[in-house]
Symmetry: C2
């Protein structure tokens, strides 16, 4: 991982309102900045940490995107998440000394590194930081429950629909288009994440295109009819 530093101070980072709640005071942000080691730049395919590595830090995505993968004893894998700027990876590594998953950049990606030890110490002094960490972990657990529901109780199409809509919402939060989705992962990875065969995913996308709800052009997917997509998702649930 190479070292550059256009801005290692949170307050200068365009994403600080995404990483931290507005209630975070400038002083707190300043202290937090001080423990951010560096800005790491990874190129596509490089890993931030690998399953089994000793866990030293959590990371906030500045630019680009990543996927996290868990490999089972039998060699099968599970994509546990895709991450966009302003999102945090490595929360599953706080428990043990070693990493539970591998994080891989799916394109050129910039990261903020927050060493676990320093962060723990700082959150002893900053109640708002501790509280924020509890919150993002708690939110992650909630989101995981939602995903379990999706994986175990819904149809293949429903899973694709809810992924597209959630990706759209995440792009919006970053002030990107809610319609023009730029997926950064392969069909195989996305299918694995959604718990289906990649052929099924491909077919579903095409069906949605046939029904004039989306346009598929490789990893560029346009949501032509957001209300229609939402409606289709509701119908499935009945």
């Amino acid at each position: 991982m190479s070292l550059t530093s256009p801005s290692s101070r949170c307050i200068e980072c365009g994403l600080h309102k995404v990483c931290f709640p507005p209630s975070f005071e400038a002083r707190a942000l300043e202290q937090l900045s001080s423990l951010i080691n560096s800005q790491n730049l990874l190129s596509k395919g490089e890993s931030v940490y690998r399953q089994g590595d000793s866990a030293r830090a959590i990371y906030a995505v500045q630019s680009g995107s990543l996927k996290t993968v868990m490999t089972q004893a039998d060699g099968s894998t599970q994509i546990t998440g895709f991450y966009l700027p302003g999102e945090v990876i490595g929360l599953d590594n706080l428990a043990q000394s070693h990493c539970a998953s591998t994080a891989i950049a799916t394109e050129k990606t910039g990261l903020c590194e927050l060493p676990i030890n320093a962060m723990s110490r700082l959150s002893q002094q900053l109640p708002e930081l501790q509280s924020h960490l509890f919150q993002i972990m708690s939110n992650e657990i909630r989101a995981d429950y939602q995903r379990m529901h999706m994986l175990s109780q819904t149809s293949a199409e429903e899973r694709v629909l809810s992924f597209l809509l959630s990706w759209s919402a995440r792009q919006s939060r970053r002030r990107l288009s809610a319609q023009a989705l730029r997926l950064t992962m392969t069909r195989e990875d996305l299918a694995n994440y959604l718990g289906q065969a990649l052929e099924t995913l491909s077919r579903t996308l095409h069906k949605l295109q046939d029904d004039n709800l989306i346009t598929v052009a490789g990893r560029q997917i346009t949501l032509k009819d957001l209300p229609g997509l939402n409606a289709r998702l509701q119908v499935q649930c009945s």
Copy 2:
């Protein structure tokens, strides 16, 4: 929820080594005890908290058992977990002011209530408590990823096998038999948790019985051949 208090001090509780790591000093346990409001006793079917309630506390199970359920907008549900003594519920409620799920006692159940506010304050003073909270949340996230893998990539039988073995391990941790499982939930709830139809679950259990691996007597399930069950799980994965 009625109020009794045979022992509201952690150090006197037989489970304190399960709730907290051995590194926890007596002094820390003492301080922690001081914020435990009371011991709550619930009878079967009663709820600790309900989805949408304001989130006030997390809870450690003292005796009995619970299930947590998330209800979707469309009315479908997801059992997000079953909890035994020494385990903690409510971690998904730290993020927002309201509860994301409903916790229901599946039998007569005793609980320790740890108010969120008081706990946050105390963990500002006790680094080991903060660290422990980070750890149990991080562990929960890891376990969730494992479950996603199970739900999305494995067969119905495999899911039943891994549930039985994990329940066995959890009984062991409480110094109960690793063979004689006492399930506290209905087939419907278990099937929902495992992401399958209850008929499928029933059939799978019977097949395992036919193959002389287990004995099924309602909710009393005996693991007759632990190595055999493990082997069967491995084979599935190939």
